[in-house]
Subunit: 200 residues, 2 copies
């Protein structure tokens, strides 16, 4: 048990060092030796946890990906309607900006590698597809409960994910350019005016 | 005249070579010597046109930026209402995807440098601000002509640019993930349902 705990600590420690190196120098310019030096571990310890540099890179990505569903879980309050849950998601945007800001150089490395490597590309598009599926389920639930008109859930999900990605990118690049949290809530309000049940 | 023409050709030739090197090897790993070798010009010719590597990089960015207003000009048909012009812009999305696809590695280099260098960062956020201003003018014109409700043009512009950025990013990363041109038109239709004048 203590041994396993130490192993997990070492793995997390190596990943933090790898993220540091990739962010500072870029993926291509980082060697396993440099990650080991940064983490203060032997190459043996590195290769015990990861077959190579790309595996560490993908593990960082999967770690980030594991957080994808968190806001959807958090927005699932008991007895809340789908429009209320959509507003709940919009209200989290400011928090997402703050946690994403420090990770941008790492994201840029993911995209850079994705443009060169089909395996990384596949992993990079995965979260967008998962978000679109999660939003499509939410919209379908709104149609089923009668709080939304009978719209195409996939199309609305594509629009919502596009909006979220665009807000996130601009909010991180240009935090002073607008009140992005307020914009997110305004956007949901605008869309719900179009999506909501009209008074009969 | 012939001399000036040759100078412009050389400048464009150096920029194309620089874009090639930055895309392939990244900005940091590219030297002026490599750009010159790729372009088949002397260092003297390079420094005649650009004070250094960063100036060539920024010139590439400004070249891209010069195209920012083109879709807005193209969507300005005589006598068209603002909702019609918004649909016209949505109809161009597919074309924008196709022209952007090959430039993604270069964009990623812009973002990568922007995260390190305040001058590049300033230039990188500039097109988003310009797009937001252009959309805000368009929305204000719609309110003035009576085709849109009295909404906050800045807020609506932030939403529209976020939507465009998110559609573009997903469409380029994951062209097979959805029919992005159709999604763009559906998004404008949804927003106009919320923004449009309601029947009295």
């Amino acid at each position: 048990m203590a041994h396993q705990r130490r192993g997990e600590d070492t793995r997390a420690h190596i990943l933090a060092a790898a993220a540091d190196c990739f962010t500072r120098a870029g993926y291509d310019a980082t060697s396993v030796a440099e990650i080991c030096a940064q983490a203060g571990v032997s190459k043996g310890a590195f290769y015990h946890h990861f077959p190579g540099k790309q595996a560490a890179f993908m593990a960082l990505f999967e770690h980030w990906l594991a957080g994808v569903d968190v806001p959807f879980q958090a927005a699932r309050g008991a007895g809340e309607s789908v429009p209320e849950r959509l507003f709940g998601l919009a209200g989290m945007v400011q928090h997402v900006f703050e946690s994403a800001a420090g990770q941008i150089p790492m994201f840029i490395e993911f995209w850079r590698q994705a443009a060169k490597d089909p395996q990384v590309w596949q992993a990079t598009i995965e979260p967008y597809r998962r978000y679109r599926m999660a939003f499509a389920e939410l919209i379908a639930a709104g149609v089923a409960e009668g709080s939304l008109r009978p719209v195409d859930p996939d199309m609305v999900a594509q629009v919502l994910v596009s909006l979220g990605v665009g807000l996130l990118l601009q909010g991180v690049l240009d935090p002073a350019g607008a009140d992005w949290g307020r914009t997110a809530e305004g956007a949901i309000a605008m869309l719900l005016e179009g999506l909501g049940k009209q008074p009969v």
